[in-house]
Amino acid sequence: MRRWLRNAALDAVRTASGLAALALGVVGAFPETVSACSVCFSAKNEENQIAYLASTGFLTFLPLLLVGALLLWVRKRTQDTEQPRSPDHS
């Protein structure tokens, strides 16, 4: 693949993920409760609502953290011994 194509692809990925993060931020910050939604207010109190939000965030990000730590550890252990193989194909 030519270099500019590769860079363009990388740029596209970066832009897309940036836009996705922005979209998430926007929709997360300005929720609209739909009047037809009969079940949008079931939280018992403000504290309960916050607790659910916090525990959702905690449970969601913790596994990524664990895997990230494991990958870093593996990388650290392998990179000194990794050596290129004489290539027989592209």
Partner: protein, 205 residues
Amino acid sequence: MQLSYVSDGPDKVVDIRGRMPAARRRQVAPNGVIGTLLFVMAEVMLFAGFISAHAVAKTTALSGWPPPNQPRLPVEETAVNTAALLLSGAALAYAYRVYLRDVRRARVPFLIALLLGCFFVAFQGVEWLSLLREGLTVTSSTHGAFFYLIVGCHALHAVAALIVLALQYRQLLLDRLSPGAFAGAQVFWFFVVGMWPVLYWKVYF
């Protein structure tokens, strides 16, 4: 953490027990260490589930948290116990470092780690007995139920880890403890030790 498989050049790995001239397969770490690490990751998620449930249950309790008519948890005594457990972890880490240089000198710190761990579990048992006598039971409130559930689950892990450590101590006395096995057990004991302060903070306060 050190390799238990002595690296002999970049592509050749020799098993420390000398039993098998392992083929040229590069090992990231001893199997036991990786297996234990993966298991610990699953365990961390188990406790994360308990902690989240506990955090949510706090906000839905009927009459405040902790309930006014229930005994308080022994925060100060447990602080002492927490210190004992942390010391035990440090002692084991020291034992491993010494072990890599001189196997025999690791015996004393290993024993200290083991005894401090046993002290932690025993102290917890005594605490439980007094709490039960004061009326905090599994069914008395969700507060009590979560206390026994989370702390009990941690204690079960501690007991299992101590059994493994005791078996390894015997191997150590016989000079038969392999570094891979020691490193694996060490990972698991660090998990038990490292999990505790988090649980202490979340459950007792």
